[in-house]
C-alpha cells in the first residue's frame, strides 16, 4: 500500500508586523499633512512712525480704500484698473521716496480686498505706506 505524501505547504504572509506598518503609515501621512509649506507675499516693515507731516502726505499718491470703492487721489477706479493707474502715475519716478503710495482704509474694508489692491500697487512699483487712524504710518518698502 502506498501513502500519498502531501506536498502542499501552508504558506502565510507574515502578519505580525502589520500593525506596526499601518501605524507608521498613519504617522507618515500625518507629518506630511502638517508640514505642508505655505505660500504668500512678503513685506519688509521698518518700525512704524508716530506722525508724519501733512505736506509730505499731500505730495504722494493716495489710495483710499472703502468697502465698495477705491479712490486714487480722489478719483474712483475699478479694482482691475488699479495697477495700470498707479503705474501711469508713477511713470518716470525712480527715487524710492517718490514711489511712496499712501493707503488709507476705512474700518470695514475686508482683508481680501485690501490684499488685492496692495498687491497691485506693489506690482506697479509702488512702495506702500499705511495711514492708520491714530495718525500712525507704516512704511512698506518693496
Amino acid at each position: 500500500m502506498k501513502f500519498r505524501r502531501s506536498t502542499k505547504l501552508l504558506v502565510d504572509v507574515p502578519a505580525v508586523a502589520s500593525g506596526d506598518i499601518a501605524f507608521n503609515l498613519i504617522v507618515f501621512f500625518l507629518v506630511c499633512a502638517s508640514t505642508q509649506p505655505d505660500t504668500g507675499r512678503s513685506q519688509i516693515l521698518p518700525k512704524s512712525e508716530q506722525t508724519q507731516e501733512q505736506k509730505e502726505q499731500d505730495e504722494h499718491l493716495t489710495v483710499d480704500l472703502k468697502r465698495n470703492a477705491i479712490l486714487i487721489n480722489g478719483d474712483p477706479v475699478k479694482v482691475s484698473e488699479v495697477k495700470a493707474r498707479v503705474k501711469a502715475k508713477l511713470a518716470g519716478k525712480s527715487r524710492p521716496d517718490d514711489r511712496v503710495v499712501i493707503v488709507k482704509s476705512t474700518d470695514d474694508v475686508p482683508y481680501h480686498a485690501w490684499i488685492e489692491v496692495t498687491s497691485q500697487i506693489e506690482d506697479a512699483g509702488g512702495i506702500i505706506t499705511l495711514q492708520l487712524e491714530e495718525e500712525r504710518t507704516v512704511d512698506v518698502p518693496q
Binding site: N24, S34, T39, Q43, I44, K47, L65, H112, W114, I115
Partner: protein, 135 residues
C-alpha cells in the same frame, strides 16, 4: 551521576528595536512642532504671484471670529507687539519673518493694528495667501 542544568539563555527581544526607535523619533518630531495652530478656523485670501513663505518661529493668525492668536495662543492686540518682539529676540535681519494668517473677510479695524504691531516689533511681514489659480 549528576547532570548539570544549563543556564537558560535570556535575551531582550531586539527584533522590534528599529520600529521602536522610529516611532520615538516621529513622536518627538511631532512634539517639536510647537506652533500648532491647526485648531484655528480661517480662510486665506487669494492673490497672484505668490512665493514659498518658508518657516518661521512666529505666526500671527486672525480667525473667522476676528480673534488674534500668536503661535496658536489667543491674546489681545495690546500684548502683540511685545510678545512678537520677545519671540524674535535678537534674530538678525532675514530671520525675523512673521507670518500673518488673516481670515479673508476680517476687516481693516482688526488686521491693520496687527500689521502695525508686527512693524513695531521689527518683524518682516509675510502674508499667507492662497494662489488664485488653485482649484
Amino acid at each position: 551521576m549528576k547532570m548539570k542544568r544549563g543556564k537558560p539563555k535570556v535575551d531582550i527581544p531586539s527584533v522590534a528595536m528599529g520600529d521602536i526607535a522610529f516611532n520615538l523619533l516621529i513622536f518627538f518630531v511631532i512634539l517639536a512642532q510647537s506652533q500648532d495652530d491647526s485648531h484655528i478656523q480661517w480662510t486665506p485670501a487669494k492673490a497672484d504671484n505668490l512665493k514659498g513663505a518658508g518657516y518661521t518661529r512666529v505666526t500671527v493668525t486672525i480667525d473667522k471670529d476676528q480673534k488674534v492668536y500668536l503661535n496658536g495662543q489667543e491674546l489681545s492686540e495690546g500684548q502683540l507687539a511685545s510678545r512678537i518682539e520677545s519671540n524674535l529676540g535678537d534674530a538678525p535681519a532675514g530671520q525675523r519673518k512673521v507670518m500673518l494668517k488673516a481670515h479673508s473677510d476680517c476687516t481693516a479695524a482688526k488686521f491693520e493694528p496687527v500689521i502695525e504691531a508686527i512693524s513695531q516689533a521689527g518683524g518682516e511681514l509675510v502674508h499667507i495667501l492662497e494662489d488664485k489659480k488653485q482649484k
